[in-house]
């Protein structure tokens, strides 16, 4: 522990600052959920600046499985401090015992109080092992080529008949590796009135998927491949996710003839990122990580997410807090967000129109079934 306790480093002289430089504390921060454009490009510089060089954040990426294997390989002297993970990595890590429970122990540091409702549900669901960073709609949404498709289907029934009229023109990626495909898949389950939490009961879902499977040429393993096929005219409709679509549109890398619609007969499946702290950190590291999460969960830091088409969990965020550098992108995002997902200058999750992901075991079971029943055909 440090004797001075509350000394504010920003008040030290330049000499002292140089000295401090020497003993800067390093935080190793891995993302296993993507989001470089926010975590790496915005959050980390902002944090380092705010802390006046007291911390240095090292950023790297991996997949959840890899990071968990890595943490396990490191054993008692972890070199990883904090991880931002999606809905797959968090429960996996819990099962493998690599995360430290943050809530209720560090409720205050992680600003539990400021979380919105959906975020709190997730905290509950995962017993406080991770702090939600962003929760957002993950689909179902369809992106389509407006030159070819005049009346885009907005229900799964319509979609099925469209597909049978246009064989080969619909495509979705492997559900196990693609967010939009998952949105599509879980949306379908809902629309057919089946229970996504009971993986053995989904007869109609498999029937639907295998029917349209007759008219689907292939299931790419990467979402971006489906995007490209849509852009180049190979297919005319693919599943998408609302804010991903908006941010791609905002970047100007989607041809103008591509449009999107929300599927009306299913609720949005809620995707999320969490900060998770690695177990067994030395005290000093633990303190640093909590300080980092504390900053990251602040409304200032959270608001910047909007410009990256991510929906923050801090109830107090506002578009006004977006730094001038990111204002323009935010306006673009707003412009391309589907009407259901914006309210004035706010990105929103339509009230009551959302559901949570099932548990990880169920998800794994569903993926395996999809692979065996649909992909393997």
């Amino acid at each position: 522990g440090s004797k001075e306790g509350g000394t504010d480093s920003s008040q030290t002289s330049t000499d002292a600052a140089a000295e401090l430089q020497e003993e800067r504390i390093t935080i190793t921060f891995y993302s296993v959920a993507g989001g470089d454009e926010y975590y790496n490009d915005i959050l980390i510089p902002l944090f380092e600046e705010q802390m006046s060089g007291k911390y240095e954040v090292l950023y790297a990426r991996a997949t959840p499985q890899e990071i968990i294997s890595k943490i396990k390989a490191q054993g008692q002297n972890p070199n990883i401090d904090v991880v931002v993970t999606g809905l797959d990595g968090l429960p996996m890590g819990i099962n493998e015992g690599v995360w430290k429970q943050l809530i209720p122990e560090f409720e205050e540091e992680v600003r539990f109080e400021e979380l919105n409702d959906i975020a709190r549900t997730y905290v509950e669901k995962f017993n406080g092992y991770g702090v939600p960073v962003t929760v957002g709609p993950g689909g179902p949404v369809l992106a389509y080529n407006s030159d070819k498709v005049e009346q885009p289907p907005t229900t799964f029934v319509e979609l099925k008949s469209w597909i049978s009229e246009n064989p080969g023109k619909f495509m979705y990626a492997a559900v196990s590796s693609s967010g939009p495909a998952r949105g599509f898949f879980f949306g379908l389950i809902q629309s057919l009135g089946e229970d996504m939490n009971d993986p053995q009961s989904l007869t109609q879902t498999w029937e639907y998927l295998s029917d349209i499977g007759q008219m689907i040429d292939s299931y790419p393993s990467k979402t971006s491949d489906t995007f490209n096929f849509l852009y180049d005219g190979t297919v005319d409709i693919i599943p998408h996710s609302p804010f991903w679509y908006a941010s791609l549109k905002a970047e100007g890398i989607v041809p103008p003839n591509i449009q999107a619609v929300k599927m009306e007969d299913a609720k949005q499946i809620i995707d999320a990122h969490f900060y998770a702290m690695v177990n067994n950190l030395p005290e000093e590291k633990e303190k640093a990580v909590l300080e980092f999460i504390n900053f990251a969960m602040s409304k200032e830091a959270q608001s910047q997410m909007l410009s990256r088409a991510m929906t923050p969990v801090n109830e107090n965020v506002s578009a006004d807090l977006i730094l001038p550098d990111y204002q323009e992108t935010y306006q673009n995002v707003l412009e391309f967000a589907l009407p259901d997902f914006k309210d004035g200058d706010q990105l929103i999750i339509p009230e009551g129109e959302w559901v949570l992901f099932p548990d990880i075991d169920i998800i794994n079971d569903l993926y395996t079934q999809w692979e065996e029943r649909i992909l393997a055909q």
């Binding site: 959920a33 993507g34 470089d36 790297a60 396990k72 390989a73 054993g75 990467k222 190979t234 890398i253």
Partner: protein, 291 residues
């Protein structure tokens, strides 16, 4: 006299006809080979250019060629992912590991190629395990060992771990090259007073340059793209470029696809550079050696 002249002319004409026919026949014979070579190269160029155009194209949606060209994506990828520093660290790790691997494996390859001894095949089999078994099998135990002895996340540690790929692979590639060298030249050298070392450096090594080049290119490439094990023992600061790029690609979120293409392309340059330098060096020495 006249007839003999006309005979002469005829025979010359005849021979020209023969020559042309022979040439035509040769062309026809060569045709399938050229078709094969050209098709293969076309596919490779097509693949590469497709990725290139998408990385350097402004907009390219379903048309034969992109609308325009730009370096913007590459620049953005370069800055956003700090490619320059990854290049440096990667080339250091892989380059050093290549050299060490070759140094350690050439003598062994020589023994394996020249000597007959019991269980030789078994030993060769052992050598080829590391690059054929999935990394997964040994990656996790290695990572724990490296973490426990403090070699993980250090440059020497990464170099050492690359030897697992580099040594056996170069041994395996070099064996047939050594087998086809004439052993009598080695005896001649020794009888002229060369000790084993000099016999090796002066006689075997120069003749082995094509083999060493092939081995160097192959292990460099293979080590360069070693993924799982490097990921497991590398830290954010000591990552190799491919580990970083693959991580980005596999966790891709909102990044524009052209930028990801550009990012992926950055993997190609060091390999290309290395391959060309090696081939050039090899042909240079070959030419100097008069082969």
């Amino acid at each position: 006299m006249q007839t003999s002249i006309s005979n002469e002319v005829e025979s010359v004409l005849q021979s020209h006809k023969h020559k042309y026919r022979k040439r035509l026949f040769n062309y026809l014979k060569a045709l399938p080979f050229w078709l094969l070579i050209i098709s293969f190269i076309m596919i490779i160029l097509g693949m590469t250019l497709s990725v290139f155009f998408s990385a350097f194209g402004t907009e390219w949606f379903g048309t034969f060629l992109p609308e325009g060209y730009t370096f913007e994506w590459m620049k953005r990828a370069w800055v956003a992912y700090d490619i320059g520093s990854y290049y440096k660290i990667t080339l250091k790790i892989v380059g050093v590991a290549t050299i060490i691997s070759l140094i350690l494996s050439i003598p062994s390859a020589y023994v394996l190629a020249r000597k007959q001894f019991p269980f030789k095949d078994a030993l060769i089999g052992f050598y080829q395990l590391p690059f054929t078994l999935p990394e997964l099998v040994y990656a996790i135990p290695i990572a724990s060992i490296f973490y426990s002895i403090g070699l993980a996340e250090t440059i020497p540690g990464l170099i050492i771990v690359n030897l697992i790929i580099g040594i056996p692979f170069s041994v395996f590639i070099l064996i047939p090259f050594i087998e086809s060298l004439d052993p009598r030249l080695e005896w001649a050298a020794q009888s002229l007073g060369a000790n084993k070392w000099r016999m090796f450096t002066r006689i075997v090594f120069p003749q082995l340059i094509p083999g060493i080049t092939a081995a160097a290119i192959n292990i460099f490439i293979r080590m360069f793209s070693t993924f799982i094990i490097i990921l497991l023992i590398s830290g954010p600061k000591t990552q190799t470029l491919p580990v970083m790029v693959f991580s980005v690609l596999s966790s891709a979120g909102n990044q524009p696809p052209p930028m990801l293409d550009a990012l992926a392309l950055t993997l190609m340059f060091p390999l290309l550079l290395f391959a060309f330098i090696s081939l050039w060096l090899s042909s240079l020495t070959q030419r100097r050696l008069g082969q």
